[in-house]
Each structure stands twice: as structure tokens, then as C-alpha cells.
């Protein structure tokens, strides 16, 4: 049988990086092929070539045995290829029907939109593939899981046969992810062929028929879920053995370091995104905020670190009210912030590593005297941190923009953790990092906690929350649904709460008891 899709010798060179190095891939009809690799391994580049967003330097694409040229998304759509992008390609202020038909509209009387006809077709697809959506809903009002279904319907509406899913679970709760896998399975059973891009090992083992591992732009191996396990896949991905568990001892927390009372924060559209949140973090404990991205965590963190004004409530850090304090005042009280978007908020990319390492302290002795920066001291300080935190950089004067993501993150970690701090606000500290860097950063955070620092950790990765936290607060649509002891919950229970489902009565009663004990 001819494969429905074949890529032969695809090569793509970016300035300084060989993103794809003679990649061969074949996909059979009705099959789910997982493309596994770390961030930056070249998976997304390969799929963008297939979807016509990039042009390959070398290589050929065959569909049903026939050679095709794909030079734009229009070509890809015509060839029956559809892609669910990692960042949804949906327009929030359009309805589901408008989003689905955009570019492929139903019209009447010349150029007038026929919304009725489009809605009817969408309902038929929804029925056939069990993807319940209402064509008249505004996309911005839909939960992320439903938005993803809209993306899938978009492809089916165009009668795509080859479906590419680019990191589709990044924004989903574990339960939503399981539902997505069910949908993928049923699509495959109905004859659609699927390429599934991910860096999460569990998902690959759960859903794929076949697994292809990519490292540094080249295919390093092919296997099936039956033959592989998590450890062997991780080793293939990284190129060495890695430890997947964090080691950490039980500790008794000390005094309350930060206390949030009834906090309300609104976004720029005046929607309430943090809705009367109260939370405490004590010295020597890690409190993890679990929740799907976009449930108010970002705004909560910005309010705590002084980057955004709150509309109500109070935040007290080490006995001082910081609700109206500036970021610098908050930093000087002894707090550190590892921001969610390291390139936008954590670093000044064109500045040298050494300068980025003193961004919080440059104006104080010994880094400056009066208004003059003491460059010698700044450089010595940088050399020391580069050694201590194992930052791989050609020199202290190299701009941080030239460092890899993992090393950029280490620069932030070094800057924030090398100061005498009592509170650490870590927001997605390992986002997009390779397994090796994750291991290192986790160790550092646990070490800070052991030194008596209060740590508030925000992460959409449930595994990370489960491994690091002493207590877990679940955030859902701007509210903290529950605060529970790590040891008293399972991953499934937290996952359910992330979807807004509160556990049953007896469960809550048990948990309440635990919560009271911890306070």
C-alpha cells in the first residue's frame, strides 16, 4: 500500500541552525504518527514546510505516491492537509461559524455570507465526528478545549485527509487531553491520517500507533508504544540518561511570608480575571498554583510582583502592604520573580549576560558608586554566577539573545536566587526547556525552599506542580477552588479540579480537615 504522505530528504537551513537535516517520513492512511522531540528539535519547522509556511531547501513531498509542490497554505489545503496550530488560529470576536468558514465561505446573492448554510454544515460535521459546538457562539466565550474542537472542525470543513496536531495539549487539562485523544482515535478510525507533534512522553505512549523521535533536526529513531517506555524515549530525545523525578524531603513550614486577601484584578477589557483570591505562603514551603493557562494566573502573578494594579483586596509581604507598591519596592523587600515569558519580561535580550545578571541590583553598592556603574565588579560578579549556576555562555559579555533557552533561564535563576530573598515567585520556570535544564532548575527551587524561602510556583504542567509542591492551590476562572496538601491528592483529582469539577462530598470533607490542619 502506498503511504498517503511521504517526505523524502527534507532539509531546511536557518541562519546558524540546520533545522531539518534530510528528514524522511511516511504516514499511512488511518494511522496516528507521533513526532517526538524537544523544543527546537525541528518538529515545527518540518510541519510548517508541509503546510506551505516555509519552503524547504532540499527534499520532496509525495501525496498518495504523487509528487506535489506546496508553496502556500492554499496549496496545502488543496492537497488535503490541515493543521491545528499550537497557538490557535481563531479570531476571538468572530462566531464559530465565521471562524470555520473563513477563507472557504458559503455565500448567496453574489458575495453575501450564508451563515445558515455554514451552520448547517458545521452541525453535520459536529454530529458525525462527535465534536459538540454551537455555530453561533462567539469563540472568545468558549473554553480552550472547545476552541480546539472548532479548530478541528475547521479542517474537516475543508475535507482535509491529513491532520497535523502541533503540541495540541499545551493548553488543555489532563481530562481535556484525554478527550482529545479519544477524538483523534475516532478520526483515525474514520480514515483520517494524523501527525501528532509533542514533547510529552505520556501522550505519545497513550495515543500513537508509531513514534518518530527527532533530535537536532535529524531523525534519531523510530519505535512503537509497545516497544518503548518513558525512560527509553527520554533518553532518545535528550541523547543521555535523565532522571525524571525530583528528590525532596518533608519539611515543616515556618511563618507566613506572603498573604493575599480578597485580591481582584481586571484585564485591559475590564473583565475580572482574578476573582477575590486569598492565599498564604509560609517560609520553607512551595505552594503550587495548578490551572490551565489563561485562568488568571498571569494576572495574579503580575499583581503580586507589582506589574499590574489590583482593583481590590490586599497583598502583604513580610508584614508590609504591597498592594500599591512598585516592582522595585517589592524586590527590595526580599522577593524574587522568575517571569512566565523570559524573553519579554525576564531579560533585556541585546544586553550582555553580565548586565542582565545585575538588573535588580545595578543601582546599589557595590555595582555602582553614585551614578557610575562599576564595570569591574559587575564582571567579577557575573563570572562567579556563570560558574555557580553552570551557565553555558562564550563570555560574560555575550548578549543573552545568543544563549539557548535553557541558559537564558539559568541567567534569570542565577540573578534572582543569588540574592538574599525570602519569597520566590516562580512562574512557569521550565517553560519550553529541555529535560536536562528542567532537572537543574527544579533542584535549585527545592534548594531555596530548604533554605527557608517561601516559594509560589505557577505552572500549567500538572506534573511539575505535583512533583515540586508541598501544597497545591487550584485556580479556575479567576478563583482559587481549593487549597490541598500535596500528599492528600492524586493527579487525577487535581486534574478534575483544574476543569472546575469539585470532588465529591466525602472527599471535600476529608480535604477540608487537611486544609485546616495545615493553616
Amino acid at each position: 500500500m502506498t503511504p498517503i504522505l511521504e517526505l523524502k530528504g527534507i532539509t531546511k537551513q536557518f541562519p546558524g541552525v540546520l533545522a531539518n537535516d534530510h528528514i524522511d517520513l511516511s504516514l499511512n492512511k488511518g494511522e496516528i504518527l507521533a513526532l517526538l522531540g524537544e523544543n527546537g528539535a525541528g518538529k515545527s519547522t518540518l510541519m510548517n514546510i508541509l503546510y506551505g509556511l516555509y519552503q524547504p531547501d532540499e527534499g520532496e513531498i509525495f501525496i498518495n505516491g504523487e509528487k506535489v509542490m506546496i508553496s502556500s497554505p492554499t496549496d496545502a489545503i488543496e492537497a488535503g492537509i490541515g493543521m491545528v496550530h499550537q497557538h490557535f488560529m481563531l479570531i476571538p470576536v468572530f462566531t464559530v461559524a465565521e471562524n470555520v468558514m473563513l477563507g472557504y465561505e458559503s455565500v448567496k446573492y453574489g458575495d453575501f455570507l450564508d451563515r445558515e448554510d455554514a451552520s448547517k454544515k458545521i452541525s453535520e460535521i459536529a454530529e458525525t465526528f462527535n465534536l459538540p459546538v454551537n455555530p453561533r457562539d462567539m469563540v472568545r466565550d468558549l473554553p480552550v478545549g472547545v476552541q480546539q474542537k472548532v479548530e478541528i472542525i475547521k479542517l474537516l470543513y475543508r475535507e482535509a485527509e491529513i491532520l497535523i496536531f502541533d503540541e495540541p495539549t499545551a493548553v488543555l487539562t489532563p481530562q481535556e487531553a484525554d478527550e482529545l485523544f479519544k477524538i483523534m482515535r475516532s478520526l483515525a478510525e474514520q480514515g483520517k491520517s494524523i501527525i501528532f507533534i509533542t514533547h510529552k512522553l505520556r501522550e505519545v505512549l497513550d495515543v500513537a500507533d508509531r513514534i518518530m523521535v527527532i533530535r537536532l533536526g535529524a531523525v534519531v529513531g523510530e519505535t512503537t508504544p509497545d516497544e518503548a517506555d518513558k525512560n527509553s524515549l527520554a533518553a532518545m530525545m535528550v541523547g543521555r540518561e535523565v532522571s525524571l523525578v525530583v528528590e525532596k524531603e518533608e519539611k515543616t513550614p515556618g511563618d507566613v511570608v506572603i498573604s493575599i486577601q480578597d485580591l481582584v484584578v481586571a484585564d485591559k477589557f475590564q473583565n475580572i480575571v482574578v476573582d477575590h483570591v486569598s492565599l498564604e505562603v509560609r517560609a520553607g514551603e512551595i505552594v503550587g498554583i495548578a490551572g490551565v493557562q489563561g485562568n488568571g494566573q498571569t494576572e495574579l502573578v503580575e499583581a503580586i510582583t507589582g506589574l499590574q494594579k489590583s482593583s481590590g483586596g490586599q497583598i502583604t509581604l513580610l508584614g508590609e502592604d504591597i498592594s500599591r507598591a512598585t516592582p522595585r519596592q517589592i524586590t527590595e523587600l526580599g522577593s524574587a520573580h522568575v517571569p512566565e515569558d523570559r524573553q519579554a519580561d525576564g531579560l533585556v535580550l541585546p544586553f550582555p549576560t553580565a548586565e542582565n545578571l545585575v538588573l535588580c541590583t545595578y543601582y546599589k553598592e557595590p555595582f555602582s558608586k553614585g551614578v557610575v556603574l562599576q564595570y569591574q565588579t559587575i564582571l567579577e560578579h557575573a563570572e562567579k554566577l556563570i560558574t555557580d549556576f553552570d551557565i553555558r555562555t562564550p563570555s560574560a559579555l555575550t548578549p543573552v539573545s545568543n544563549l539557548s533557552g535553557g541558559n537564558q533561564q539559568k541567567v534569570i535563576i542565577a540573578r534572582e536566587l543569588s540574592r538574599p530573598i525570602q519569597f520566590l515567585m516562580a512562574s512557569q520556570p521550565t517553560r519550553g526547556l529541555d529535560v536536562g535544564s528542567i532537572e537543574y532548575i527544579h533542584k535549585r527551587i527545592v534548594q531555596k525552599r530548604d533554605d527557608g524561602c517561601a516559594v509560589l510556583l505557577v505552572s500549567p504542567e500538572l506534573d511539575e506542580i505535583m512533583e515540586l509542591s508541598d501544597r497545591i492551590a487550584v485556580m479556575y476562572r479567576g478563583k482559587i477552588l481549593a487549597v490541598v496538601n500535596r500528599s492528600a491528592v492524586t493527579k487525577e483529582e487535581v486534574g478534575l479540579m483544574m476543569a472546575g469539577v469539585m470532588p465529591e462530598e466525602d472527599f471535600t470533607a476529608k480535604k477540608k480537615h487537611v486544609v485546616e490542619r495545615t493553616f
Partner: protein, 425 residues
């Protein structure tokens, strides 16, 4: 299968913000105080206010004058405004908060007119008729902005396009002695400038504000040069014919509305036609859906095979077409000659009207009428010999623009990719 999907209810801050509720209530009570001390206590009992309800020079659709007792009317306005303010402070109007403050503002203006005309008369219909005419360039400017910004290109060059349009309208209109050829020239000059804006901001990805500013400065200089060099030395080149008043049979006979809306010049009719055309084209056609998608999320549009660059070019050039038309209004529909800088910031006020109108044609025309009315009050009352200096009254439309732009009304639905050049990678 479950057919219903869950949707998220957005709670808004104004529904819970006590400070906003308080501020609005206080503002309303302040308006009540102004009515009390400014007007009620300054008016003599027994005086009458006469509002003339037919604009001057009109003989179809006339109606009798409207005579009201000055003081009782003012007291009624005072009581209603105070009641609104107190209710706002105690209970709050929730979603209707903005509407209520707007209503109080309207009462303030009406109270001012009633007080000012106490014992004499004001031609209210004449004021409204001139408000409509003054609203034309502002509304057309706002339409121009809607077309371009809905596709994601900020166009602050509307002012320059209008100025250029008004100059070429006068020049070509004088040479050919034809209003329509003059108007065509005005439109073409607007389109040419917008093509320049499109090339600079879409192709070369120059900051759209800079590109627009450059075009504004260029237009001011160019029109001043041609005006001084040719139009002033040879008055025959600056004497275009004016579009006549065209009464619409039947409709022109409706009292009050007829003379104001249906017995006027072609620009007012074009404004209403464009309102319908743009509203329908943007929100009910394939063309409009694609144009809006490019202004909201160009990358998404691109992945669906929509040509982002071409769509933006078309939108900006149409924006120039409407701006040129607005320019033609000054010389061919209103004044009958070109004066340097005669657009006087109407293009910018048009942009304010676009924002105030939430990037929608219907909202834009509403905002255009508001600004036009502010303008009309300013000019009429300075003729009436008000105690307020005419210079202060002339500032009214600009002050209202500033208040509106300062976000007093709250943030609207700006296209998400407005002002961002599109890079295909």
C-alpha cells in the same frame, strides 16, 4: 450526543467597582449643581424660552415655534438629574451607567440652551441643520478610519487626505466649472495619498503613525504652496461651483426632520448611503469577513489562504476614497473656495468619532453627530451674544473629543492587530 456547549460568562469590573459607581454618581450630582447655580438661580421667574423649529431660508416642512417656561423647565431638569445622581450613588445603574451619564450631559446642554434663550429665542432647527452639515466631514473621516483600521492599518493621514481633497476639489472644480469633476478630483487625490500610505506602511512596514504624520505634513505644505502660488494670485482658480440643495420629494415635507435631513446637499445623502453600504459590506459579506479577519488575526487569515497584503491595500485605498470625498465637502459642499488649513483637525476628530463609535459605521455616525452638534452650539451661541466668550465656545468640540479619547467612555472593540505590520516570516 450533547448538543449544548458551555460558554464563559465574562464579569466586568464596572459591575463591581465601587469607585467607578461613586465617581459617576458624583459627576451626575455636579451636573445637577451646575444646573441649579448656573441656570435655575440665574433665571427670572415667568420668562419664556422660544425655540424656532424651522431653519432659515426653508419653505417646505415648516412648523410652529416651541415655547416653554424657562424656569420650570430648568427645575424639571434639575430634579431628574439629581434623582439619577442619587440613585447612582445608592444603587448604581450597572450596565446603564454610561448611558445615564450621557443623558445627564444632554440635560446639561439642553438646560444651557433653555437658560441662554430665556426671554429671547434660539433657532433650534437651524442649529440642528448646521450640526448635520458640520457632522459630514467628521463622519466621513470616521468611515475612512473604520475601513482602514478594520483591516489593521492605522490611518492618521485622513486629515491630510481631506486637506488635499478639498484643495484639488476647488482647483479642478474651478477649472472645469463642474461640481462632479471637482469631486472626482478630490476623491482621486485622497486615493493617491492613501496609496502612498499603503506602500509605506504595508510594503515597507514603516511605523503607521510616522507614515501618517509625514503625509499630513506633506499635505499641509503642498496645499499651502499651491494656494499661495496659484489660487490667491488667480482667484478664477479658486471659485468652484457649489453642490445645490436637493429636496427629496415627500420626505422634505416632514416637519423638523425634513428640512434638516432631506432638504440638503448631496454630501449628507452620500453619508447615509455610505453608512448602509459600509455597515453591510463589513458585517454581511465575504469581502467584509475577510477584511475584518485580516485586522484581527492576520496570521490566521494567512493560514486559511487569504491574501493579507492585498486585502490591506484595498482597505487603505478605500479609506482614501472616503477621506477625499470628505475633503470635497469643504470646498464643493460648504464654503465654495479653498482656504489654507481649512479642514482644521476634522480628520483627527473623525478618528476620535471612529473610536467613540467602537470601529462601527453606525457608532461612527452617532459620534459624528455629537461632535457636529458641539460645533454648532459653539458657533450659534457666539452669534447670540452669550456671556461665555466665543473662543471658549469654539473649544467645545475639541474638549469633548479629549474627554472621549481619555477613555471616559471605556475601552471598545479595537481590531486586535490594529497598527501591526504583517510579516510573513
Amino acid at each position: 450526543m450533547t448538543s449544548a456547549t458551555q460558554t464563559i460568562e465574562h464579569k466586568r469590573i464596572y459591575e463591581i467597582s465601587p469607585s467607578r459607581k461613586l465617581a459617576m454618581g458624583i459627576a451626575e450630582l455636579l451636573i445637577a449643581l451646575v444646573i441649579l447655580f448656573g441656570f435655575v438661580l440665574n433665571s427670572a421667574p415667568g420668562t419664556l424660552t422660544r425655540f424656532v423649529m424651522t431653519p432659515g431660508g426653508i419653505d417646505v416642512g415648516t412648523m410652529g415655534d416651541w415655547i416653554i417656561p424657562t424656569r420650570s423647565t430648568l427645575i424639571a431638569l434639575l430634579i431628574i438629574t439629581t434623582a439619577i445622581g442619587i440613585y447612582q450613588l445608592i444603587r448604581g445603574f450597572g450596565r446603564a451607567t454610561n448611558g445615564m451619564i450621557g443623558l445627564c450631559g444632554l440635560f446639561l446642554i439642553f438646560g444651557f440652551l433653555t437658560w441662554q434663550a430665556g426671554g429671547t429665542s434660539v433657532n433650534l432647527a437651524g442649529m440642528l441643520a448646521s450640526a448635520v452639515l458640520l457632522a459630514v466631514p467628521i463622519t466621513l473621516g470616521a468611515f475612512s478610519g473604520v475601513l482602514s483600521e478594520r483591516a489593521g492599518v492605522v490611518n492618521i493621514a485622513i486629515e491630510g487626505m481631506m486637506l488635499m481633497g478639498s484643495m484639488f476639489g476647488a482647483l479642478i472644480g474651478s477649472i472645469t466649472n463642474s461640481t462632479w469633476i471637482g469631486l472626482l478630483a478630490a476623491i482621486l487625490s485622497g486615493m493617491l495619498l492613501s496609496l502612498l500610505h499603503a506602500v509605506l506602511s504595508i510594503k515597507y512596514k514603516i511605523n503607521q503613525i510616522i507614515s501618517g504624520t509625514v503625509i499630513n505634513i506633506f499635505s499641509a505644505g503642498m496645499t499651502a504652496f499651491i494656494s499661495q502660488k496659484y489660487l490667491q494670485t488667480n482667484q478664477a482658480l479658486n471659485n468652484p461651483p457649489l453642490f445645490p440643495r436637493i429636496p427629496i420629494p415627500g420626505l422634505a415635507n416632514i416637519p423638523l426632520l425634513g428640512p434638516i435631513l432631506f432638504n440638503t446637499n448631496v454630501f449628507v445623502y452620500l453619508m447615509f448611503i455610505l453608512l448602509v453600504v459600509i455597515q453591510v459590506a463589513l458585517f454581511s459579506t465575504r469581502w467584509g469577513l475577510r477584511l475584518r479577519s485580516v485586522g484581527e488575526h492576520p496570521r490566521a487569515a494567512d493560514t486559511l489562504g487569504i491574501d493579507v497584503i492585498k486585502t490591506r491595500y484595498v482597505a487603505v485605498i478605500l479609506s482614501g476614497l472616503v477621506a477625499g470625498l470628505a475633503g470635497g465637502f469643504f470646498t464643493l459642499g460648504s464654503v465654495g473656495r479653498f482656504n489654507e488649513g481649512m479642514t482644521a483637525g476634522k480628520g483627527f476628530i473623525g478618528l476620535a468619532a471612529m473610536i467613540f463609535g467602537n470601529w462601527r459605521p453606525l457608532g461612527a455616525i452617532g459620534a459624528g453627530f455629537l461632535f457636529g452638534f458641539a460645533d454648532a452650539i459653539g458657533s450659534k451661541l457666539s452669534l447670540l451674544g452669550s456671556v461665555i466668550p466665543p473662543q471658549i465656545m469654539a473649544m467645545a468640540p475639541y474638549v469633548i473629543t479629549m474627554i472621549v479619547l481619555a477613555g471616559f467612555i471605556g475601552k471598545g472593540d479595537m481590531p486586535a492587530a490594529d497598527g501591526e505590520p504583517y510579516d510573513k516570516e
